[in-house]
Symmetry: C2
Subunit: 337 residues, 2 copies
Amino acid sequence: MNIGEIARRAGVSRSTVSYALSGKRPVAAATARRINEVIAELGYRPNASARALAEGRTRTLALVIPPASRRLTNVQLDFVATVVEAAAAHDLDVLLSPSGGDHDRSFERIVTGRRVDGVIMMEILLDDPRVTRLRQNELPFVTIGHVEHPGGSWWVDVDYAALVRRCVHHLADLAHRHVVLINRSAELVAAGYGPAVRSTAGFQEAAEQRGLSAHVVCCADEPAAGLACFEQIRARRPEVTAVVTINEAALPGLQRALHRAGLVVPRDFSITGVIADRLAEDFHPPLTAADVPAEEMARLAVDLLVERIADPAADPRHALLDPVISLRSSTGARPAR
Amino acid sequence: MNIGEIARRAGVSRSTVSYALSGKRPVAAATARRINEVIAELGYRPNASARALAEGRTRTLALVIPPASRRLTNVQLDFVATVVEAAAAHDLDVLLSPSGGDHDRSFERIVTGRRVDGVIMMEILLDDPRVTRLRQNELPFVTIGHVEHPGGSWWVDVDYAALVRRCVHHLADLAHRHVVLINRSAELVAAGYGPAVRSTAGFQEAAEQRGLSAHVVCCADEPAAGLACFEQIRARRPEVTAVVTINEAALPGLQRALHRAGLVVPRDFSITGVIADRLAEDFHPPLTAADVPAEEMARLAVDLLVERIADPAADPRHALLDPVISLRSSTGARPAR
DNA sequence: CACCATCATCGAACCGGTTCGACAACGGGA
DNA sequence: TCCCGTTGTCGAACCGGTTCGATGATGGTG
């Protein structure tokens, strides 16, 4: 079951078997055939640990995800699925590491134990201790999202500020004067979660530029919170006629709240924001929104990581994606009062 | 950075460092302290590949998931998250392997390359070639779901037949006479996906017992299909007053279809089925349903696997869970005609 | 004081691959 | 015929840990 056994049965040395398998040195055709026959017969496959030890690489990537307690959103789920798929295309396996803001055991084990050749990190904060940790550990990594000072880092992100800015301009063009941004949870904002912070900035900037009255509210990532959040907006600021949201988990609740309030979208109220296309289509009516190209980002992240692993001294690369807004049917002109 | 370097700096042999780390043989207190100081100073952590090679175990589990193309449902997502979390509690890492019905590269690599100590398989079929593969490979594994003839296998499952039977009885008790089961997609049923097949059996059995007119329809796992599916039911069988469903992905569409048809739940129409509690609560009104205890199953699967790895000769164990139906507000007496 | 257990440590073998340098066999050119 | 380059294969070292048997130091006992 090991390479020595194959060598013995094929009547050659272990190194010859190794070369026949890897092709790194030529092997006589007849010998190669004999070796392959034995291998096929025994269903042999090299031991991954031994190979990793000898080669100095594990052919495995780590994907750092938020801990199980924090539910994954659809976009995050798309990241995970696509990262795994893209890695498989490179014949790489993916090790999952659930990790909170601080370095826990799983993260440490992976980072310092040379368990993987590289790391992809999702859900990083503007000032993330784990990024610092990876930097000092000389382990190639790519982040989905970027820290505040990403100098020298490799990353892939969506320009949330630009997207939200564009949403606000779109609403302003439709004559809306009072708008609200429904952000992610207060904890995420407080922790310095990039998209939440950058969205706020983009929102306020565009609103000021267009002279809109604009407010930002935080909302937990769940339907019930979306419902409560909207009812609060209606109660406190009845003049609001449109919302921008980056909180897709809250959408079902938002939808129910609109229905309960007897508001018809987009006749009485407009909604837009940054929402996965699949969800946007499911909404009723379909949402005018900027889709996060999760698959593209994940694929890009894997490709960048593979590149960085191949050449650790290469110049840092990054990609800031700026998807267009898909005009569907959830936004309309400000209703006459 | 390796154990030899630590040994050199601490002025001891490599084996002493190893023993100090593992505690498998006593080491003098003074020596241990010196070694620990050096380790702390250098931030040393044993190379995982070398350790795996020497110990003959990788401290890693594989989790076989459906391929990325087939979107994960919420229940499946809960499985993944909880498996990772439960494995972390045992200091085990989790390798993700997306695998279709047939054995693809990733699956083969993991199974025959001794990359992992054990495997957890989700989404298995009644007659699954991968289960056969694992059996002949002497790799410990636990399935979430069970094959048709699970003799000697280790598994965890929910008794879908019993749950659906119970749903039917519940509807019969409410005087419904014409019911429909909205099943998972036709492809899944055709492939022999356990929950889909067993639900059908339980549904028909209970319906016959109570003398109901009962039909089963397949429905793709997406909202749009749920909508189309329901409209078809209304068109073809207007006498139907209640549905049972195990297709949670189709629920939003179902909800929209009900709304579009002007039906109020549960006054005009009843819905029940097997649906994750989180989703059931999000529905409007909250769904009377049997919750799949995904977290419990995942935790159980990991615990069983750990047990089986520790003692590969142990007698096979399994758990067939049978959660109760949570009475919420989506079922009511058959409307008077 | 001699003897024997116990304790702490060491050296060597091993896990299962990869890779490097060496070398034999062979064929072609001078 | 001699020399040299090429081709195919082998043996040994190495990757970085774990583990076993051996050994020297120590201390208690008869």
